[in-house]
Amino acid sequence: MNIESIVATHWLSAVVNDVIILFKPALFNIYFALASIPLGFPLAIGLALMKNSRSRLWSSFAGGFIYAFRGSPLFIQLFMFYSIALAFNQTLWKPLGIDDFVLHPLFLGPFVLILNTSAYAAEIFYGAIRAVPKGQLEAARAVGMSRSQVFRSVTWPNMLRLAWPAYTNEVVFLFHATALVYFTLPVINEQKDLMNKAGELFEKDYNVFLHFSVAAGYFLLISILIFFLFGLVYKALNKHLQHLSDSTDGAGKMKFRPNYMR
């Protein structure tokens, strides 16, 4: 039996086998993304509003935070926060009895990802706030709305609608960024993500094409799923504008044309 026939008979079963093995690691990547979005989203909105605020102090604080986290690699940020957390271990976490929790990658990973993604998303939302139609804001003020009413009925819905395609793109980037967590934080037992497990499988049989392709397939599949789900939300956000455009090419339809910029 020569190598070609072995490859031919086992090619598909090897792929299926890898898909099964890498399913659980994929859940870790999904966990990191899912744990980061619910806190990253409101934090990003808060930072965007802060950057837009008239107070010099608040806007420069938010601006500085956004600049720092967008201007440095996530890889360094993960290392930095992990080492800072370690430095406070003896003096702070241990006496409080929360050292296992604080230093656990399943806590620290999302913590850093939240800071990172909120900076990128805040810049997106900030841009969207600036792009809210001035006429609508003036009209809302003219009919005597209070500041919070203007925000709720004009700024918020417009901002969300304008920012959504870019925010979708940011969520996909965030999902891809989860691949970096276990390169920097300690791997505990079998808690491994896609890159980690693919690397481990590679070290057993040196089949780089098989294992990395299956891992890439998982990333691709989940990215497409994110585009699909966020596309549904975008549709809902634009429902009221449907009559403005012709029925075939509705404004609410998000095109599957991923933006390449983070």
Partner: protein, 273 residues
Amino acid sequence: MEGLITSLSELTGTNLSYLFNGKHLAWYASVRFTILAAFFGAVLALLFGMLGASAKRSSFAPFRWFGSGYITMVRGVPDVLFFLFFPLAFEQFVEYLFSLNACTVAERASGKWPPCNAAQWYLSTSEYFVMACVSLGLVYGAFAANVIHGAMRAVPESQLEAARAYGFTKRQVYWHFQVRQMWIYALPGLSNVWMLLLKATALLSLLQIADIVQWAGKLGAANYFPAAGLVHGDWRWRYYIVLFLFYILLTFLSELFFRKLQKRASRGMALDQ
């Protein structure tokens, strides 16, 4: 130098010579990997970007599919995956070529990798470095291809029509009008790609390159032996904060550079704004 350091140390009351010992000098010198990888990565990314964009615009369908596939593929998968995959795949490809001559048929059929010891390719830092640059070029070339593709289409069609009307050949219209004017539309996007690429250079340590990140981890690790230098606990956090600030500084300098470049490139251009 030695005298300057001691007098500065006395002046500030800190141990400045610690920051200028051999290991630290090696750390500062390792910045070259970051800068060179970013530079060569960017040059290759521009090259692959041009090729990718040209392929996507090609009138020959398979080229078009290849261009679109390249751009979409790299976008759907994390950069770190490509960054690790490409060097490993290339290494195996070369080892496969080695094995054709070096190994017997029986060894090649055994299914082991590498088939025999003679086919093993031992990579040095410089070879890893070249592959890291190519990986960066490939990944960010796809991003650049997308930017350039968009910029090509942003060049006003009337300009090209006018050029054709004056009797310029197809090639002249492409190079002297479309590509010449494309840059101004591509620059904001390309500056964005550069920022991404710059941040991705932090990953060099994953390819066994002793870059600033790897050195920071080594220098910051706790040292309890006076013979090995200053005795200190775990100082890694200090070193990573320095790297954090270093990358922010690089981003800031890049922004200044691209602002200047944008101004320069816009000279004499008929732009709307």
